[in-house]
């Protein structure tokens, strides 16, 4: 199998996580709670499937006319006093942000944003001497514990309240802090309050860009988002070029499906929509960085471009039985779970994260919940195909798996060969049958099976042999075309 170039591949990264009982309990609890809430609020929408259909088509349509919509967004945002920047990759985006922030401030307040994670903005800011302060509670926890987010919507779901207490007690110097969620939240509120009121520059992501108006929409719960969007003098937003929607009205679809899918709420506490600069209201300087970072590569692949339809609700993660076992860190990537399994390798031009498309049993639970109907299993299979295709010629020809696959195909292309293989299998399996009468240990690749499972041996007679014997007359004879 193709090994990723860097970072541990999924199966090996998963191993220590599977043994971490505490972590698995935390993940299980969190995903259970969100799933239950989600299915309740989705269940009360008789038009849910119609909303999904519309959402899917809106996203598809947007991608088809993406260049036009981005130009339209740029024009309208600029007319409203905003400044639009374009970045081909992470370095360019980081450079733009640093340049804007550098002279204005020594620290910036930040709203949780997967995109800034993707480009490693915090590291870049720190290197430039600017201190980024995460203001979303979960991101604050992750940042202060020098950890990585493990979920798109609830980045700290792998950390429980006792762990948060110990952390805050240390970093905020609060020795008396209890581990009640209320007290921990209150501690974060007090810690951030002055920062909100005084920091002159904020950095955010964006949930949606509205081409028609040049507006930006951000969806959040805690009010930290509104603080960042409203109080500082300067606001810098970073958005993937995939974030655009054609018109204001299209938000009526997105804002119905997103909160129900993401947190299981009918509507999240706060949605902010603003357009450029509003005199006397909010930041008087607004910049937006439109980021490609290989999204245009994804757009090029007709069978995978629906990956770009994602609105980062995280529902696929909560529904995924693989994610449930390992949590997000096994994916070694900013985007975990099913969406990570398709997005990460593509963002790396299929040069990294090649084990991720295989980190799925193709059960389809992700597709079932995805509010924009991304057929994730289909994309996974397609990417597996690309990974096989791009194997070096040597591996594609002589690799163990490739040989096994071609050999199996060769058998299946002839009934006689299949029969012969069945006969040989029955003979050969005797080598592996244990005392219990079952196969308990298989060699090579197949050994994965017998690590936790036995295998019943092949019975002495195949079905085709049985059928043939019982009545020659009703067997349709070989029709000649195939051996």
């Amino acid at each position: 199998m193709a090994a990723p170039n860097s970072a541990a591949d999924f199966p090996s990264a998963a191993l220590p996580l599977l043994r971490n009982v505490q972590l698995r309990d935390n993940v299980r609890h969190a995903t259970d709670v969100i799933q239950r809430k989600r299915s309740r609020v989705v269940g009360e929408m008789p038009d849910w499937e119609m909303l999904r259909d519309s959402a899917q088509r809106i996203r598809e349509h947007t991608m088809e006319y993406l260049a036009d919509y981005l130009e339209q967004f740029e024009q309208n945002c600029t007319a409203a006093g905003g400044q639009v920047h374009w970045a081909r990759n992470a370095e360019e985006a980081n450079r733009i942000v640093i340049k804007l922030a550098q002279n204005a401030t020594a620290s910036v307040i930040k709203i949780k944003s997967m995109t800034t994670e993707e480009i490693g903005l915090n590291r870049a800011l720190e290197a430039a001497g600017i201190q980024p302060v995460e203001t979303d509670l979960a991101e604050l926890i992750v940042q202060q514990s020098h950890d990585r987010p493990s979920h798109i919507v609830v980045p700290a779901l792998h950390i429980n309240r006792h762990q948060v207490r110990d952390l805050f007690a240390r970093t905020m110097n609060l020795t008396q802090l209890t581990d009640r969620a209320e007290d921990l939240t209150e501690a974060a509120r007090a810690y951030l309050r002055q920062k909100f009121l005084q920091t002159p520059v904020a950095i955010s992501g964006a949930n949606f860009l509205v081409a028609e108006t040049g507006g930006v929409c951000i969806v959040e719960s805690e009010g930290n988002g509104r603080m960042c969007l409203t109080l500082p003098r300067t606001l810098i937003a970073i958005a993937g070029i995939d974030k655009v929607v054609p018109r204001f009205r299209d938000l009526e679809v997105m804002l119905q499906i997103l909160p129900r899918s993401a947190t299981g709420e009918r509507m999240n506490p706060y949605n902010s929509i603003w357009t450029g600069v509003h005199p006397g209201d909010g930041p008087q300087e607004f910049h937006i960085v439109l980021l490609d970072n290989r999204r245009t590569e994804i757009l090029r692949d007709a069978d995978a471009r629906e990956t770009l339809h994602c609105i980062r609700c995280g529902a696929c993660q909560n529904a995924c039985p693989v994610y449930l076992q390992t949590g997000g860190h096994a994916y070694n990537s900013v985007y975990a779970g099913p969406i990570g399994a398709i997005l990460t390798p593509q963002l790396a031009l299929m040069r990294e994260g090649q084990s991720l498309p295989y980190a799925s049993s193709l059960c389809g639970a992700c597709y079932e919940v995805c509010p924009v109907k991304i057929n994730i299993p289909e994309v996974l299979i397609h990417l597996r195909g690309r990974i096989v295709q791009q194997q070096p010629q040597l591996q594609r020809t002589f690799g163990l798996e490739a040989i096994a696959m071609r050999f199996a195909q060769w058998l299946f292309l002839s009934e006689a060969r299949l029969r012969l293989a069945q006969w040989i299998g029955r003979m050969a399996q005797k080598l592996f049958i244990g005392n219990s009468g079952w196969i308990e240990k298989l060699p090579g690749m197949l050994g994965g099976w017998t690590r936790t499972r036995d295998l019943r041996p092949m019975p002495p007679q195949s079905f085709r042999a049985w059928f043939e014997k019982r009545s020659e007359s009703s067997t349709v004879r070989n029709q000649g075309k195939y051996e």
């Binding site: 049993s361 059960c363 990974i387 096989v388 069945q422 690590r451 349709v476 004879r477």
Partner: protein
């Protein structure tokens, strides 16, 4: 009615008793079962693992072998899902117009076994007797690709003597996933543990499903851990007539 059976490669080799049970049920209902001998494999393993080029000849072969058959019965929902969800796409990708046309006429003729009984033959009582405590595991493909819904349960509900116990977390994958079980053996094993736990909670004697692939996976761990429950393909239960319902020696 003449019904062609596509037994699938793994049932043919590993679970011939499932095919035998399917034949018994269909014949008991007065139908004639054909078995086109040239049949082998639908190409699912190749396709899902990324060897799409290698799957194409198998798709062609399947189309050819079943060209003349009006009703094709498949006792495996994952193979039906492969055919329904991917054959058309594979045909388009091949650029072969004739294959595309062939696939279009093939698809409406392919039925999963329980789907055939309920939707095509319009029976839910197949005259079976099976006096055991049974829980039904919905395979992912039966649930999300074929949308079988309560079709298998309707059939099981009509079996005499059966005691059906619902399985918790019915919609959660057992962790099989074809080559996933090997490539990600540890995660797959952890998913399997969860499923086993739910099955044990039902205190059923038998866990059944429309797919021997999931059952083989479950059975593998049940055997390793010497658990009391056993697995049976749904065809086996529907074929039972009381006396013959005793577990096969080789699955205990």
């Amino acid at each position: 009615m003449r019904i062609a059976l596509f037994i699938t490669c793994y049932n043919d080799t590993l679970f011939p008793e499932t095919g035998i049970a399917v034949v018994r049920v269909l014949e008991r209902l007065g139908h004639t079962v054909d078995f086109p001998a040239a049949q082998t494999c639908c190409g699912q393993m190749h396709y899902n693992t990324g060897y799409q080029a290698e799957a194409l000849p198998l798709v062609r072969r399947f189309v050819e072998v079943f060209r003349e058959h009006d009703v094709i019965c498949v006792p495996s929902s994952s193979c039906v899902a492969m055919i329904r969800e991917h054959y058309a796409k594979i045909a388009v990708a091949s650029g072969d117009l004739r294959l595309q046309a062939d696939v279009t006429t093939l698809l409406p003729r392919v039925y999963e076994f329980t789907e055939l009984l309920v939707h095509r033959l319009n029976v839910d009582d197949v005259g079976a007797t099976y006096p055991h405590r049974v829980t039904y595991h919905a395979s992912c493909h039966s649930l999300r690709s074929l949308h079988l819904g309560d079709v298998p349960l309707r059939l099981l509900g009509k079996v005499r003597g059966i005691e059906l116990v619902p399985l918790q977390k019915l919609d959660q994958c057992c962790g099989f996933g074809g080559t996933f079980a090997i490539k990600n053996a540890d995660v797959s094993g952890a998913m399997l543990e969860d499923k086993l736990h739910c099955i044990e909670n039902t205190q059923a004697e038998v866990c059944t499903a429309c797919d021997n692939s999931c059952l083989m996976h479950l059975q593998g761990a049940i055997h390793r851990q010497r658990k009391a429950v056993r697995t049976e393909h749904i065809a086996h239960i529907l074929a039972s007539e009381g006396g013959s319902a005793e577990p096969r020696k080789d699955t205990v």
